[in-house]
Amino acid sequence: MLIPFGQDAPGLQLRAAVHELEACNEALGRYGLALSAEDARAIVVGRAEALRATDRVEFGGGVAKDLVLAFAGSPYLSQAAFVPTVIELQELFYDFKNESLEQIPDDELIAKMRALFDDVAHGDLGYLEEALFEGLGRAVREEPLQLPVDGQLEEEKLDDVDGAIANAYTLAANRYDVSKWVDETYAPPWEGSSWLDE
């Protein structure tokens, strides 16, 4: 296979991810947090394991950086708990992406995770997981189709209808209508009526 999906990500991606995480230190400093090169590698390795466990593929630096920056301001995270928490958050993130059938964009999911982590779970990852899967998951699955305000979806539907009408017209214009042929030529002699009557 040209690109070995499912195996270890190419070194290029790993280096990019570690570099991206190390670049977060300036922002993390504001919350009294820091990531060493070893921490960054641990997060990246955790990411690869999470992707493998959830059967997903990610390109570029991935969401690790976004998770780190989003959760850095949580009052429930200390320097000691930061890296293990981020590693677990990554796993939860990819797992939920699968569970939500890809319907929640990355940034929206991260924002919801952060809000639940602080306001509902109060820093408890187990509770966060429960809240996510029981609440958000159900909402995603049961949410009715949202029609866009500008009616774009309606226009697309109309286009589909137009296409179907055009196709039907082409078929009809060229006599390609099976019911006509049946009426003309296909009345089984033993019954004297069209087989369509059956």
Binding site: L2, I3, L12, F59, N167, L171, N174, Y176, V178
Partner: protein, 301 residues
């Protein structure tokens, strides 16, 4: 049937052979950037990750567009020194043109196909009519998002993917339709009824029985148009082919192809090759029929 006896698929098919070379680290890096970008376009920037099966489909699509065999570790040499993004866009535009050709071929088939009833053909044509609308050539170019039940006389090679498969399918179907329209519909229907009384509902190719009988009549110097072959005509075919060697039988059948095409006005070389390929397929059936003294299973009447 041997696929290589048929004319090559439409121009630019992605199965064309390239000189391949081992990948370089530089190529891998550029290719990875391309996959990353195409994934971002697929998710509309909403997600940096996708399920593995989607990633695999995106990879297959990119490979199809670029003309890379995803099962091989080497790549076409021409890709090693080009801007992959530019090359991808250029070839995507080629695919877009092929999709337009699909629409033209589809309309041509519908306009040409005589009104011989076949549920499978009807459903297949309806389904393929939606191909340009359903085909996501930007992200899933290797897929064929329509169903096609109707069996061709000479199936399209499974190595063709996406729009290449559909265009080749339509091209072959157009050859069949163009051949069938040279006969009276009722004559075709009579042959098909004798081939299979339930032919309307069965997954049965319409061209093969009609063309076979046309060849049978040409073989003994008759006008192919009436199509049906009477017992005495079948006996003449048997007496003609029976004493011949295998090579001579093949030659006789291929000569019948030439005569049939001449009488019917089939000038297109691809259509002649298509019929010629059928003649070659008939040989083993003719051999068996002659061995049992009965050709009614080959040439119906």
């Amino acid at each position: 049937m041997a696929e290589d006896t048929l004319p090559a698929p439409l121009e630019g098919a992605h199965g064309t052979r390239d000189i391949v070379s081992p990948r370089s680290a530089d190529f891998d890096e550029r290719f990875l950037r391309l996959i990353e970008r195409r994934t971002a376009i697929y998710t509309m920037g909403d997600s940096t990750s996708v399920p593995a099966h989607v990633a695999l489909d995106l990879l297959r699509s990119i490979c199809f567009v670029l003309g890379i065999d995803p099962e091989r570790s080497d790549v076409p040499e021409r890709l090693l020194s080009v801007d992959l993004e530019d090359e991808f866009r250029r070839r995507l535009a080629d695919i877009e043109r092929k999709v337009k050709l699909s629409g033209e071929l589809w309309r041509a088939v519908v306009a040409t196909m005589p009104a011989i009833p076949s549920i499978a053909l009807q459903d297949t044509l309806k389904s393929i009519g939606d191909f340009p609308r359903l085909y996501d050539f930007r992200s899933m170019a290797h897929e064929i998002p329509v169903s096609w039940d109707y069996p061709l006389c000479h199936p399209v090679p499974e190595t063709l993917l996406g729009v290449d498969y559909i265009n080749e399918y339509l091209r072959r179907l157009l050859i069949e339709a163009d051949f069938l329209r040279r006969f009276e519909r009722d004559a075709c229907v009579r042959v098909l009824e004798r081939t299979g009384p339930d032919f309307v509902e069965l997954l049965l190719n319409l061209y093969e029985p009609v063309a076979t009988n046309a060849l049978g009549r040409s073989l003994i110097g008759l006008d192919p148009a009436p199509l049906l072959i009477a017992d005495e005509e079948r006996a003449v075919i048997a007496s003609l082919l029976g004493p011949l060697s295998a090579v001579a039988r093949e030659r006789a059948l291929r000569e019948a192809v030439g005569r049939a095409c001449e009488v019917l006005g089939v000038a297109d070389e691809a259509a002649r090759d298509y019929l010629d390929a059928l003649a070659l397929e008939l040989l083993p059936r003719v051999d068996v029929g002659l061995a049992h003294g009965d050709l009614s299973g080959v040439f119906v009447g």
